[in-house]
Structures are given as C-alpha cells and as structure tokens.
C-alpha cells in the first residue's frame, strides 16, 4: 500500500508529507516533478502512474496542488488513486476549496485527517460526515474530547445514532445528465444517459428506507406488468449504505441512509437518444474574417422547457470585433475562452432558433490547421427524465413510528455534450448572406 502521501505545489515542493511506512526516503518526492516533466517531453503527456528506481508515484492534480502517493510495492494502483480522490473530497468538504493556500492555513487538521484516514498505508475511514464528527477544527479539552463515533466501526459506518429532527423529511432528486457526441455531419457518435438519485435526508433515529423504481428487471422478475413504461438501467451503482446482496436477489433497494445530502445511486443507459438540443453550424472563413451560422432546435415535447441554455461556440484565438444577430436569446463574446456564448433563458420544446456571428481576423495568419474544439451545450429541463425513470414509492420505517414526507423532483441536464464543428468553408462564393 502507500508508503507516504504528499501534497505538493506546482513547482514540486512538498507542502505536507505523511510518512506511513518509512521505507522510502522522503527526499524521493524531489524526483516527482522532474519525472512528470520527462514523460511530458518524451511521450507528450504526463501519466498518473510512474515508476523510477523502485518507487512508484501515483498522483492527481487539484487546482494548484498535486496529491501524490508513493509506494515501493506492486500495490493496488486503482485503490490508491481512488483514495487520493477521497482525500481531495474530504479536504474540500473541510476547507471549501483544496488549494495551496487552504493547505497552508489548515496544516494541523490535514495532519490529523491523514492520520485518521490511513494507517500503515492502508485506507481506513474516508466518510467525510463521520470524520467531521470527531476531527474538528476547534481544539478540545480531554473532558469533552470527541470519542470515535460508533459509526466508525459499525456495520452502519455512515450514520450516527441519536439524530433527531422536529420535522422528518426526505428530498429525492432524480438527475439525468446527457452525454452526447455528435460529429460534424450531424451523426450521433455516442450518447448515454448518466442518471443519479440524490437524496437530502432529514430523518430522526435509524430509519429503514425502501425505494421503488419502475425498474424493468424487477417488474419482469416479479411477473408484474408495469403500468406505463419500465426502464432498463444498465449499470447501477449504489452508495455503500444500500444492501447489495438484497438488491441482487430481489432487486429491492433497501438502506439506512446517511444523514443529510448524499448520492444514493447512479445508473447508466446506453440507448441511442435523440439530441435534446440540436445544433447545426456552418462556418465560412475568408481572408480577414470568419462567419458563423448556428441553428439550434429544442427536440423535446412542447410541454417542457429547457432553462438556462448556453451554446458555446469556439472561435479562433485571434478573432476580434464580433457582430451577432440572433432570433432569441443573447450572445456574448468570451475571448478568454476563445468562444462566443449564446444564452437562451427559456427554450420551449419544438422551437427553433437561429444565430449569425461575424468576426474579424488578422489579415496575415499562418496556414497551420486550426484547433477545432467542439460546440458544447448546457441546459436544464425540469420535470423531465429522458429515460422515463420514475420513483414509485419511498417507504420510511423507523421504530419510533413517525410519519415522514418524501419529496421527489426530476431534472434532465447536459453532461458531456459535444457537437463537433464542420471544417470552415473557404472563401469564394459566399454562401452566407451578410448580417
């Protein structure tokens, strides 16, 4: 497992080091940055896993900080990288942002966390909510010193006992993110729905929850014919509170939830979906100027509306003096992103919108091919799921017998939503009419 964990700044200087095993001299970290650089030079890319002189460096980067794990063994790289991600999550939970400054300001608590989250290089407790119960930023006198919460070693390691709320409520958010890749000819290359059921739980005691979805597999196995549509989720992954073996046997999702916010489950559907927001673009480049025409179409039911739609269209780095004209929404040039952003506050289903843009270009430019980043689209469609997933019930049972209210919301939004740009038409016979 890990011999040591380092937090390192962009120059490769260690900010914090925790040595778990003492089998690697701490000076080994000095080789981290040169090694990263070497790979960059040789292979054109840095690698998350690198080995030199019997020491393996595993790292990830978070803003201006590298989290690095060192090991001397043929240890589980996946585990260590996952652990580093958990580490960064916990730090973010504690100090809002994980960056050089917040690390310097909080080194005491970071040492405490590193001591608690890993022992002898083996990950121990990484649940931020539980850690927060006994590793706190205020110092304590021993009389009132926190004790390890029962939860740390319980079978239910994610919830403490004795939680009380005056009003018992549960909020369920079903969020579906659409990942979409469309090529320049308008063909969908890949599309998938990445769904998540997020919960906000404000319940007293140790409640036992059961969630019912319109899960096709379950309907089929119980021989029930579904009213309406049932959904076949491809890969369901659960928060550790869900009893996996129970789900495996009869597809019921039963669990004792953590307190507060958490992600209960994620799922994926790999079905071919029609792009909800469709974009077509034509680019025409001439000497000294470039013109764009973008057509956007909301391809969902008329009853629904997409909110806060942003269509981000990349332009050359050296484009200037923008001129825009659009049928709806507002357009802004964002030179820092080398793009213009077309914002449509509300885009009703079935509607179409048109945008024309004109940019000046320096008259002398090199002939190297331009970067052609894709158009990306952001949107949110409330009260709507693409997969058709539905929460049928959420049963809440607690031994004190209180009544609790479950609230459900649905939303579909963009995930990684990219539409590739066509190659610019070269000048000669302008096809786009002038603005």
């Amino acid at each position: 497992m890990a011999s040591a964990i380092f937090l390192v700044d962009l120059k490769g200087k260690p900010l914090i080091a925790r040595d778990y095993r003492g089998d690697i001299p701490l000076s080994a970290i000095d080789r981290f940055m040169p090694l990263l650089q070497e790979r960059e030079d040789e292979e054109g890319t840095s690698l998350p896993v690198m080995t030199e002189n019997g020491v393996t460096y595993l790292h990830l980067r978070e803003k201006d900080v590298y989290l690095v794990a060192l090991t001397r063994k043929n240890t589980n790289a996946m585990t260590l990288l996952q652990f580093l991600h958990h580490l960064s999550q916990v730090f973010t939970e504690y100090f809002k942002t994980l960056e050089e400054e917040s690390i310097r300001d909080n080194f005491v608590i970071i040492y405490e966390l590193l001591d608690e989250m890993m022992d002898y290089g083996i990950p121990q407790i990484t649940e931020p909510k539980i850690l927060k119960e006994y590793i706190t930023q205020e110092s304590h006198m021993l009389e009132i010193t926190p004790r390890p919460p029962m939860a740390v070693t319980n079978a239910v390691s994610w919830r403490s006992e004795g939680i009380t709320y005056r009003k018992n409520e549960v909020f369920l958010d079903v969020v579906e993110s659409i990942n979409m890749m469309v090529n320049a000819n308008g063909n969908v290359l890949s599309s998938e729905i990445q769904g998540a059921v997020k919960m906000k739980v404000y319940l007293s005691g140790m409640p036992e929850l059961r969630l019912g979805l319109n899960d096709k597999v379950m309907f089929e196995s119980t021989g029930r014919s579904a009213k309406g549509k049932a959904v076949e989720m491809e890969d369901i992954r659960f928060h550790q509170c869900v009893r996996l073996s129970k789900f495996e046997t009869d597809r019921t999702i039963s669990f004792i939830p953590p307190d507060g916010e958490f992600e209960l489950m994620t799922y994926r559907l790999n079905t071919q979906i029609k792009p909800l927001i469709w974009c077509e673009s034509v680019v025409e480049s001439h000497r000294g100027r470039v013109e764009y025409m973008v057509k956007a179409k909301a391809q969902f039911k008329h009853r629904s509306t997409a909110n806060n739609v942003e269509i981000i269209v990349p332009v050359p780095d050296d484009a200037d003096s923008p001129k825009f004209k659009s049928t709806i929404g507002s357009v802004k040039y964002a030179p820092e992103r080398s793009a213009f952003v077309w914002k449509i506050k509300q885009f009703q289903g079935g509607k179409e919108a048109l945008l024309r843009a004109h940019f000046g270009l320096p008259s002398i430019r090199d002939d190297d091919p331009e970067r052609r980043p894709p158009i990306s689209v952001k949107f949110e469609i409330p009260y709507f799921t693409t997969s058709g997933i539905q929460v049928r019930y959420l049963k809440i049972v607690e031994k004190s017998g209180y009544q609790a209210l479950p609230w459900v919301r649905y939303i579909t939004k963009n995930g990684d939503y990219q539409i590739r740009m066509p190659e610019p038409l070269k000048s000669g016979g302008s096809r786009l009419p002038p603005i």
């Binding site: 019997g54 070693t153 320049a184």
Partner: protein, 629 residues
C-alpha cells in the same frame, strides 16, 4: 556569508521556540508546538527541540497531543535514545478512558520505527488487541503488522500473530478487514512462508464480512480471496456468486477487484453458462469506469486492455464508448486508441476509420501520429478495410498539413507491402507531395515506395534524380540508403532510363559519402551489378515477406500473472512486478533494522538477483513488453 546569517536566524527562531515551549502559559506553549510543526512541514530542522517538545506531551489537549506524536514520528529515527523518554506517556495513553486516545497512542508507537520502543510496546499492544472498543482493536491489529516488520521474532514470540489470526472471528467487520490487510502484509514480508493461509471456514466469514465493511475493507477481502484456492468447483461458484453484487459498488477499485477475482476464478469455475453470465455482468461496470475521473479512467483503460487479451469479444458492442472526447487528457486518448483498434471488428471498422480521420485532423501532433498509426493497423488487420483506410490516408495527405503527410507516408509503406499491387493507382499521386516530406523516416518511406513501384510513376526518373540532388546534404543514413536502393531498383526495372541515375548514385555514394555503411552498400551493389545483373535482380527485387501486425498481445504467462494483479501497478505498467519492485535487501543506506534485513536476504537472494538485473531495463526507456503504436 548568507548561509551563516540564515543559520543564525534559524538558530534564533529555534531558540525562541525553545523558550516558548517552556513557557508557563498553556496558550503560548500550544502556539509554540504549532509553530514547531509548521517549521517541520516546510522542511526546517527542528530536531534540536526534541526534549522541549517532549515536555509538553503530558497534556490533556488532544490537538497538542496529536501534533507532538506527529513530531515524534518524524524525528524518532534520528533520536532513538530520547524517544524512550516519551514511552511512559505513550503507555499511559494506551490506558486512557477514551478509545480515541488509546488508539492514537498505539497507532503512533507502531509508526516510530524504533526497535528500542518494542519492549515497551508489547504489553499495551496485548491489552489493546482485546480492547472492548472495535476502533482500538482495528488499530491494534494494524500495529501488529508494524511490529512484525520491525522484528518478526518479537511479534511471533509474543503471540501477536496468533492473536491477529484469531481476530478473524471478531464480531466487527472493520476489525476483520484490517486483520485481512495486516495478515496479507505480513505474508508478503515473509516472502510467502505462509503466516496465514485462507481455509474454507474463514472464507465463509469473509464473505459475510464483505457485506458490512467499508469500501476499503471490501477491497482487502477481495484481494485476499484472489489468492485463495477453492476446494472444489462448487465452492468457487459460490464465492463468485456471493461477490457478484460488488460489481455494483460506487468505488471503482471495488469493481475492478471483483473483476480480478472473477477472472482469476475462471479456471476453477467450469460451468460455461456461469462464466458467460459473469462476463456479461462485468461489461456495464467496466464501461461505467470510463465516466470516472481521468486518472481512474487511465488505470481502467490499461486494465481493460489486459482483460481484452483474455476475452477479445467482451466489449465489441461498446466500441463507441471508447471514442475520444475533445477534452480527454492525452494519456486517456492514447489508451482509448489502443483499445479501439483492439475491439474493432470487420463489422464496425468503417465508422472507426471515419472517427480516426477526425482525430488525425486535430492539432496535437503526437495524438495525430497515434491516430494515423491506428488507421494503418486497421488496414493491416482487416483486408476488407484496407481500401477505405488508404482512401482516408490519401484524403489526409491532400490536406498538405506537414506532420499528417509525413506520418501517412510512413504507414502507407507498410500497407503497400501488406497488399502488393493493390494500390498501384495511388502511388503516382503521392509523388505530388514530395516537397512537404522532410522527416527522414517519412522520406525513406516515400523513396522506398517510389523505388518499389517505379513502373507506376510516369516521370520517375526526374522524381528520383530530383530527390537525389540533396543526397550529400542529407544527414540521415536511412534516407541515403533508401536513395541508393531506389536507384538500383529503378535501373533493374528499366535499365535504359535508369542507367544514368544509378551510375551517378553509386559514384556519389562511393566517392563522396562520409557514411561507411552507405559507401559499403553502394560498393556491394556496384559489384553485383557489374558481375551478375541477374543476381542483383534477385537481391534487390526479391519478394518481401508480408507485413504482419506486430504482436500486440502479451506472452501468455505474463498475461496470466497480470490478470491476477488487475488494478495493481504491474497491470498499469504492463510489466511484471519484479522489474520495478526492489526487495528490501537492496535498499542499502536506509535506516532500517539490520537484523531483519540480514535474515530476509538469505531467502530472497533469487528474487533480488532478478530485481537487480531488472534495474537497467526499468530505467532505460520502455521495455519491449509495453504495447505501443
């Protein structure tokens, strides 16, 4: 001078800290301890304050206690005699009423790496192993592994190892998980002498514990089970089925460890229908790993690459998931390309070629090169795709983007060799781009093509003599050799038109060329041509052996080994562990317990030799085992 001033300053600060640490006010002492740790963090030497820091150890302030413990972990090795002074406080803390403190003390004592502390550690450790609080027990269990590393004999004589083994039946899953980790660690230290071997009854316990412990504990248990040899088919099936739900876990490492177990158990489970069911269940979680953070994706892709060598058809329906996104990090893109070529079948080669063409139009030169190579690999792999691939490559060449043209030339040479005569029509058009090509490898490739297919190029004489103009300025011998070869071939194919050129080429090469290899080659040709033109023909125009796709699969035994280590560093690097893990005996110069090292060295001579032999291979470039294209 400057160093002196700094030293004085530093001394000054340490002196100030010393006073503060001995202050009568609690708050000032506390602040001083914080500053000591802050200085330690930025790498300043504060070891001189050892005794002063130690004085503050007896405190009821938890934060101060933790910081001082941390200080001890850092400096214990350099001041082993002084650490003994701290032992009393440690021992007292292990009897504290608060389990947090008990655990903290026992955890820290184990981390000190000072043999002298061992004597004082044994009694508290024995008590803590039986502590009523599971939090303390799980910490104590881990501490045994630390003691074992320091001195295995002490750990065994005191019955600690036995105690840990017994703790496998602990009622608490978290403790059980740590027991498994600790035993695995000790097993490894012993080099397989067998501190612990799983048996059927323990397996049962672990299968129950796995449902209750944290994600990290689950990984530990899964890893332990990978090394287990089931008694019979029935048991193997049962284990697999019980662990199948782990594929649904949110932690990617739990998922991958489960896949690793299923693949390792493949040899024990005979029932084809079950195996098929396992494979089917593995696919969605593997695909989902590709939506994780890029680093996780990278490890997942490297491993998917291995899994595909075992089960080539596993992901053939999922090809689109591996298409590169514009903002994927480059290291992810490379791995995706590799997987794409691997899972592509004759059925979906067409869309993939189109996709690769898109990649080849991007501006990252290295990525473009990889994409172009992928196109040629597909052409060589699938006869039916060759035509389409050549079309894509000639399209790319017509963009006249310099690096795309160069790279395409290089790979076209291989495709022409693979399918002789099929693409004769394309060759003439290639000559239009001669001016763009200046990279030696690409030039050599193009010259080879011209020489080989001179009969399909109308003005080949002019083209070749044009290229020959720069012969002497050309620094790269591969280009010079290619030119000489091409001239000879041209002459052999059309003696009348080629005579002038070949004479000029051989003359220049033998008389004016500085490179001995080129001169030698030219001499040989010259003699051959003058002595026996037929022999020359059979040498220069011989049918080349067909180009095969380089073997992209790892040798079977290595693959076997790596699949068993799925997720581990070896699987990511795709080379056996002995090439990058050095055994402890070689870690000369590290402050370590001398006896342990000595006794281990005997048993491990064989492995250490292998590792020592591996040093050079690891350092100098990538070994051949790595697949790259």
């Amino acid at each position: 001078m400057k160093a002196k001033v700094l030293a004085a300053l530093r001394k000054g600060e340490n002196y100030e800290l010393k006073t503060e640490l001995n202050s009568e006010y609690r708050e000032r002492r506390k602040e001083a301890v914080r500053r000591v740790i802050a200085n330690m963090t930025v790498g300043k030497d504060v070891s001189g304050l050892f005794t002063d820091v130690l004085k503050n150890m007896q405190t009821d302030d938890l934060e101060i206690k933790k910081l001082i413990y941390l200080y001890l972990i850092n400096y214990a090795k350099t001041q082993p005699d002084l650490v003994i002074l701290a032992v009393n406080t440690f021992v007292k803390d292990t009897e504290d009423s608060n389990p947090l403190i008990r655990a903290l003390a026992i955890r820290t004592m184990g981390c000190l790496h000072v043999p002298e502390v061992l004597d004082y550690l044994c009694d508290p450790l024995r008590t803590c192993l039986k502590d009523p609080n599971p939090y303390v027990r799980k910490t104590a269990v881990m501490c045994v592994a630390k003691v074992f590393e320091l001195n295995a004999a002490v750990a065994e004589e005191n019955g600690f190892v036995d105690a840990v083994r017994e703790s496998l039946s602990d009622s608490n899953s978290m403790v059980v998980a740590n027991v498994v980790s600790a035993l695995a660690e000790m097993n490894e230290m012993e080099g397989g002498r067998g501190i612990w071997r799983l048996d059927t009854s323990t397996v049962g316990k672990l299968l129950t514990a796995v449902n209750e412990c944290t994600e990290w504990g689950q990984i530990a248990i899964l890893e332990a089970l990978v090394d287990y040899r089931p008694q019979d088919e029935k048991e193997a099936e049962n284990i697999c089925e019980r662990l199948l739900p782990r594929l649904q876990h949110a932690n990617g490492s739990v998922v991958l460890s489960t896949v690793r177990l299923l693949l390792t158990y493949e040899k024990y489970v005979k029932r084809a229908d079950l195996l098929q069911q396992f494979s089917k269940k593995m696919v969605p979680p593997l695909v989902t790993l590709l939506s994780s953070e890029p680093e996780i994706q990278y490890v997942a892709l490297r491993n998917i690459n291995l899994i595909l060598q075992r089960q080539p058809k596993l992901l053939s329906k999922e090809i689109r998931v591996f298409f590169c996104k514009y903002n994927d990090p480059v290291y992810v893109k490379y791995e995706k390309l590799d997987v794409l070529v691997r899972i592509c079948s004759e059925r979906n080669v067409e869309p993939l070629l189109n996709e690769l063409k898109e990649y080849a139009k991007e501006v990252d030169v290295d990525f473009v090169r990889h994409a172009v190579q992928a196109i040629s690999r597909l052409a060589i792999k699938y006869d039916s795709a060759a035509e389409r691939a050549v079309k894509v490559l000639t399209d790319l060449i017509s963009t006249k983007v310099e690096y795309v043209v160069q790279e395409s030339m290089i790979v076209l040479k291989d495709i022409f060799r693979r399918y002789p005569q099929r693409f004769d029509g394309v060759i003439a058009t290639l000559c239009e781009y001669i001016d763009i090509v200046d990279k030696p490898e690409a030039m050599a490739a193009l010259i080879w093509i011209i020489g080989e297919y001179s009969e399909h190029i109308t003005n080949v004489g002019n083209v070749l003599s044009g290229m020959f103009e720069g012969f002497l300025e050309q620094e790269d011998e591969s280009v010079q050799l290619a030119l000489v070869n091409a001239a000879v071939k041209y002459f052999l194919k059309s003696p009348q038109q080629g005579q002038a050129l070949v004479l000029k080429a051989l003359q220049t090469a033998t008389e004016k060329c500085a490179n001995p290899d080129v001169r030698d080659r030219a001499y040989i040709y010259w003699r051959l041509l003058s002595a026996d033109p037929e022999a020359a023909r059979s040498v220069a125009l011989v049918d080349k052996p067909p180009v095969e796709l380089e073997n992209v699969n790892l040798p079977d035994s290595l693959l076997q080994e790596l699949v068993k280590e799925l997720g581990c560093v070896s699987s990511v690097l795709q080379k056996p562990a002995r090439l990058f893990v050095y055994k402890r005996a070689e870690k000369a110069g590290l402050p370590r317990h001398a006896e342990t090292v000595g006794s281990e060295a005997d048993e491990e001579t064989t492995t250490s030799e292998a590792a020592a032999g591996g040093v050079d291979t690891t350092n100098e470039g990538e070994p051949e085992l790595l697949i790259s294209f």
